[in-house]
Symmetry: C2
Subunit: 415 residues, 2 copies
């Protein structure tokens, strides 16, 4: 697979330049790339029109067509994204610690780029510019493998970005697109340990599973969220209804949407009818256990597989529990380690939930929908990690870095 | 593979207890386990005698026999290791940040245990106690898969540890040993994503390669070190000789030993004879390029494969370079991302080397042999990571943790 080897080598070569590039030059390049997207919009839209025509011909669904489609506004949004990233603080170069040892060695730990980041993603061409921007700002080169349906769009965007890099005197191979729809190429990419430091899959559960299963390059698992909202006996029930309505219905197709309601049985009879009324405004289907059905007649029976299901739809499972420990055990059994919330007015229960629930983000009295790089104040995000290694939760620039020990000596040898 | 499923489930159950266990109870258990190793020494030594007899029968080499052998002193050292870990600061529970957002949400990031750690290792039975101690102190349960040659020894050690945990009212499954030499079991272990959060292989390059290639569980790659020492034109040559002698010969079989010398050609004629004289005290074989051979007649010709070789032996490759950039390029091409050193008195070159060389630890005027958890002041280490994800360099307790976002609200919903 000579083609991938070459891409890998070129990424490593560009990495050596980016490793020691100062923030000012990176920001200049990002702003130049942002302008290039705006002035190159016509070229990008023509390429996108090709992709759209082919997608319509093969009968792509309206939802996917909408993800694939670009227009002037969407290109302008990509450009604005790059300017925003330029304005963020560069995380690299910072000393995290620096301490002398008894033998006089001065040992420091410094934040450095990860190196070469591979991104495997699906239909949205805007990921192409976003992923480049974040990776580049953190000093990384990026190898992109987008969906085959967006190949022309992605190639046009990468061309524009590469020209901007060249114009700044930087290696254009700081961003590279794998211009092949061959599955063998993707399979080989996932084993390119010699050149790639980390792979981040962005897309549906199927894509993520494939990458986790097949990759020998370290992977950061992102995305799936079977998020719970637990309404404790002491909850402010009106607040609980509004938070539930927001977490379930504000946007249904996202990983931080609520998929399961857990209710303390003491408040089930009062709360579930209130919740069902509010959720009826969006025709949310409720599937619950026997105790929940007894409390509210609009609840249909849930099956075992409902507890583990990320619906991404107007459906909510409803589980009743005798106490907070049962709630915690249920959540830890079925969740995907994404975002979990408790609605309570009990101090001890709030702390217990925060400590005992195993997830990237744990909330008291707020909607799970806040798990997001922008909402967390990171400026932007490359994805939301649901694994525990390296990064957990929304990943911003800092999560695209590694560290390096830097040691200043004056002749020390080990006794 | 019902056996592994059960081990995995039990590890998860114990994890839920450890997740919220305070430091005092963890330290009590570690001290109890330390005492139990001392009082259970006889039982452990009997088991070890079985392993030793079998190993001798099958003709195991003297070096491996020495690694496998236990005696009273070695058991006492394991016990002392657990007491030392008890005295280290517990990294979990610490808030790394806590900030209010404009909408009133208070968002914090907290250090938490990784969860379930799998360790796959080879002949040394002392890893069994050491790995348990570090994982447990950081709130993790551990699943151990040791070498089949040490099965009786490891089982006896784990039995003693488990009894100590039970005596403290803690789940004995906080440490579990896979009591099977079946390769199928190991293969399945590496795909146990549902239960294991991270796998750390400890051993030779072959073991590590296998785990990286076959595991779908996230892996932290440890260990191999093709470490370089670059002697710059401005180096204090006497200091350079002593650091080289230490880095190459103080202990040859370890990953932070120097395997390759890189010399600025301006000082090659003076330095290489000095270095060859000193290294002759340990009969170190030198393999170099033509310029190096011209400078010192005891140097034999190096082949291309020498540059990438981790000898772990009394052999050193010698490369001459025209300038520091050539040195950096050579090192970044052939190194394994472990430890690299420059000997120089030039400020600019020191900084350039620290910035541009891509490795876990980069030294100025000191021996690469210092890359070690103890020497870095971590108290103990579980291994030395040569990857960039999650942890890089010596891994102590902090590197056995993850993080969790903790969010305090008062009814916030996402607009």
């Amino acid at each position: 697979m000579e083609y991938l080897e070459q891409i890998g080598r070129q990424a490593k070569e560009a990495e050596a330049v980016l490793r020691t590039l100062d923030s000012r030059r990176k920001d200049e390049a990002l702003l130049r790339a942002s302008e290039a997207l705006v002035s190159g919009a016509e070229e990008i839209l023509q390429a996108n029109a090709q992709d759209m025509a082919a997608a319509r011909e093969k009968g792509m669904s309206q939802g996917l067509l909408d993800r694939l489609a670009l227009n002037k506004e969407r290109v302008a949004a990509m450009a604005a994204g790059l300017s925003q990233v330029a304005a963020l603080e560069d995380p690299t170069g910072e000393s995290l610690s620096m301490k002398p040892r008894p033998n006089g060695l001065l040992i420091g730990q410094k934040r450095v780029p990860l190196g070469v980041v591979g991104i495997i993603y699906e239909a949205r061409p805007n990921v192409t510019a976003d992923a480049f921007g974040l990776c580049f700002k953190a000093g990384n080169t990026v190898i992109l493998k987008g969906g085959s349906d967006a190949l022309h769009s992605n190639a046009a965007i990468v061309n524009v970005l590469q020209r901007a890099l060249l114009a700044c005197g930087l290696p254009q191979t700081a961003v590279q697109l794998i211009a092949s729809a061959d599955r063998q190429v993707t399979a080989r990419l996932m084993k390119l340990n010699e050149y790639i430091d980390v792979l981040i899959p962005r897309g549906g559960a199927g894509l993520i599973r494939t990458v986790v299963q097949e990759s020998t390059v370290p992977v950061i698992e992102t995305g799936t969220g079977n998020c719970h909202l637990y309404v404790d006996a002491s909850a402010d029930l009106k607040m609980a209804v509004e938070i539930l309505f927001n977490a379930k219905t504000q946007r249904i197709g996202v990983c931080n949407a609520c998929e399961s309601l857990v209710v303390h049985e003491e408040v089930a009879d009062t709360f579930l009818p209130m919740a069902a009324d509010r959720l009826a405004e969006k025709q949310v289907e409720l599937r619950g256990d026997a105790r929940a059905m007894a409390a509210e007649s609009r609840i249909r029976p849930a099956r075992e597989e409902d507890w583990g299901c990320e619906y991404l739809d107007y459906i909510l499972s409803v589980k009743t529990v005798r106490d907070i420990e049962e709630a915690i055990a249920h959540i830890n059994r079925y969740n995907t380690g994404h975002s979990e919330a408790i609605i309570t007015n009990d101090y001890k229960n709030a702390q217990r939930f925060l400590d005992a629930v195993d997830a990237a983000a744990v909330y008291v009295n707020a909607s799970t929908r806040f798990t997001d790089g922008g909402e967390f104040g990171m400026g932007a995000e490359i994805g939301i990690s649901t694994q525990k290694l390296h990064a957990r939760g929304p990943m911003g620039l800092k999560e695209l870095t590694s560290t390096k020990y830097v040691i200043y000596g004056n002749g020390q040898v080990r006794p």
